[in-house]
Structure formats: C-alpha cells, structure tokens
Amino acid sequence: MTEHVINIASEFSRHPAGRYKTDGEFSGEVCRKKILVPALKRPERVIIELDGTRGYGSSFLEEAFGGLVREESFSETDLKNKIVFRSADPSLPEEIWGYVADAQSEQPKR
C-alpha cells in the first residue's frame, strides 16, 4: 500500500488546541474535518507526523481522533489498518489509540 503523509504542524497548525469548531480555528473538530477525514478517504495508508507542534491537549486529541469513530463512522479496526503515527513521544500515539478505543466502546453494538 502506498503512503500519504500528513504533518500536523505544517499542514494544520503549530498550535492545535480546543475541541469544537466554536472553540477556535485550530480545534480538534476542524482538524478532523479538514485534514483527517479527506486523508482517510484516500486509498493510501495514512502516515500522521505528530512532531513539530507546541503540544496536544486531551480535548484536541479526543475530538480529532475519537471523533473519527463517534462522528465520522470509522471503526477502530478501520483506523488501525489505515493510520500509522510518527512521534518522538511514544506516549502520544498510545494516548490517541486510547481515545479511539474509548469512542469505539461507546458505540452501540451492531
């Protein structure tokens, strides 16, 4: 599978923060709709580079990535097959996958 690389700092913001669109222009919801969902609709594997920002608050991460399951109908399995994170801080991908798993567990069983 070919790769599509996204760098959050250069393609979205060095200062990602906030949960909803109403919180600010670089919130988790905006990142999800503007950057993540279009990338995930492409056929390639998506490499998400997390380094280079000033940091990530839990509200941003949960809405951006947990929201893929809650609001955009991706499953945890879909996302794990599609996304690879690159980060100097190994706890960050772990935290994100935790939000995805939490969002999945809140979904009604099919």
Partner: protein, 275 residues
C-alpha cells in the same frame, strides 16, 4: 502588585466596560506617585481601561516591568502563547514548555465549555464578548508566574451543573478523598479527580488534570486554583496539597502556575487583542 490580584482587578473592570452598563466616566484614576507603579499599570493596560492616557515611553520601562504581559480572548488561541514559549526555549526542558502550552490551552478550553454556562450573579449576562479569559505572565527572581482567569460560574458550580458527572459519583469521589461536607476547595480537588475518571461520556472532561501536570514534576513552584470561595494549591517541592475556603467568592476561576526559570531573559505573552 501580585499578578493574580492584578489580573482579577483588570478582568472585572474589563468585563463591566465590555458589558456596556458603565458609562465612559464610571471608572477613573489618578496617575500613581511611584513611577514603577505607573509603568506596570501602563504595561498591562489598566491605565487605558481607567481612561488615563499612557505618558511613559515603553522603551524606558524597568527590566521587571517589561516582563509583565497581558492577553485576553474569547476563544482557544494557542498562538497567543508563542512569544512566551519561544522565550523559554533553551532555558527550560522541552516537556515544561509543552506542559505550559497544554495546561494553558486546556484552561482556555475549559473556559469555553464550562465557565459561562449559567449566570454569574452579577446581572451582566454572558453576551459573546463577555465569555472571556484573561492572562498575565511575569518573570521575577528566577520564577515565571502565569496567571489565567475567567469570570464565570466557577469550578465548584460547573462540576455539579455540567451534567457530565451525576451527584452520586461526585459524592463517592468525595468520600474516597476523605471529604464529608462540600466546600468549594473540596469541590475543586474533587474536580481534578473526577476528570481522570471515565464517565458515560468519556470524551468529556479530561482537561483539568493537565493543568496540574505542568508543575507535578518540578522541584520548585506551585499550582494554585482559586475558584469561587475555594482555593486548591499543589506545592511542587513537597507535593503537598493545601485546601482553603474564604468567606467571599471571587465569582470565577483564577489559575496560577509558578515555575523556576534558570536565567532572567525577557519573557512575554502576545499583546494582541489588547484592552
């Protein structure tokens, strides 16, 4: 002048002025006798908000005064922290600047979501421009103080009224913490604990503990959260927690971080969106 009290003073005046209930002449002051006090009042915008024109040249301000900086907004704006974070690079470990960014932007997010959900009780309402946060930073004696405040309903009220946690869960967490009667300081401490827990809607309410993470591993400094009548303080060197309750409420939330800075270079916050 201490940063937390000065910020609260400025925020209250700013809120009243923005509400439109006060006429232009409702607030006034004389110039202070001490030059350094005037420099500070000018630097942080208090003279302006009190209707006195700035008359001192900013490039002649004392070293300590130049380190007072002010920012305010109604949205979550991480870019407003960039001048501060940039000035810290090379002086403090990267996790500290990251922690400050995360702690402050989570405080802004908490303000946007929880602070202005009900009346504050000052009859001013919460029209769009009043759902605001204010922030100061100051460097003094090798310590960085960052103070953040909102004038909303306060943490003790918001954890009860937000609907994220039911009353039974709040009661059980308070019991686990060894608290019997509910006071504001105990509710602040409970909020820090509740936000770590899973709820029916686990995607809500994870931000507040990250405010504490900024100082948790520091050898010096503290975090202080004053909300309504209660005060919670985490002392970094001893890891001790102090809870205190006052007779009067500040009707809002004031969060203060104090952290060691190895050298005395200039630190600052964006002065955009000035008063």
């Amino acid at each position: 002048m201490v940063p937390c009290g000065t910020l609260l003073f400025l925020a209250e005046i700013d809120r009243i002025k923005r509400s439109g209930v006060a006429s232009q002449r409702s607030f006034s002051c004389n110039y202070p006798k001490a030059r350094i006090v005037e420099e500070v009042l000018q630097q942080v915008g208090i003279l302006d908000v009190l209707g006195r024109p700035s008359r001192l040249a900013e490039n002649e301000f004392g070293e300590t005064v130049r380190h007072w900086r002010f920012a305010t907004s109604t949205t979550v704006e991480g870019s407003k922290l960039e001048p501060l974070l940039e000035s810290l690079e090379g002086k403090v470990a990267a996790p500290l600047t990251e922690g400050l960014f995360v702690g402050l932007t989570e405080a802004m997010t908490n303000c946007a979501h929880h602070a202005y959900t009900d009346s504050r009780g000052d009859k001013l309402g919460h029209a769009g421009d009043l759902k605001r946060w204010w922030m100061f930073s100051q460097e003094k004696d090798g310590m960085l103080a960052v103070v953040f405040c909102d004038l909303g309903i306060g943490i003790p009220r918001s954890i009860v009224s937000s609907g994220i946690w039911n009353d039974d869960l709040i009661g059980r967490v308070m019991t686990l913490l060894g608290f019997d009667a509910r006071t504001d300081s105990r509710l602040i401490r409970t909020a820090l604990e509740l936000r770590k827990t899973r709820t029916k809607l686990s995607h809500r309410g994870k931000g507040l503990p990250q405010i504490l993470d900024v100082v948790r591993d520091q050898e010096r400094g503290f975090l202080q959260i004053h909300s309504n009548r209660g005060l919670y303080r985490f002392d970094a060197p001893t890891k001790a927690e102090i809870l205190k309750d006052f007779n009067c409420s500040i009707r809002g939330t004031l969060i203060q971080w104090q952290l060691p800075i190895p050298s005395g270079r200039q630190l600052g916050l964006d002065l955009g969106d000035n008063l």
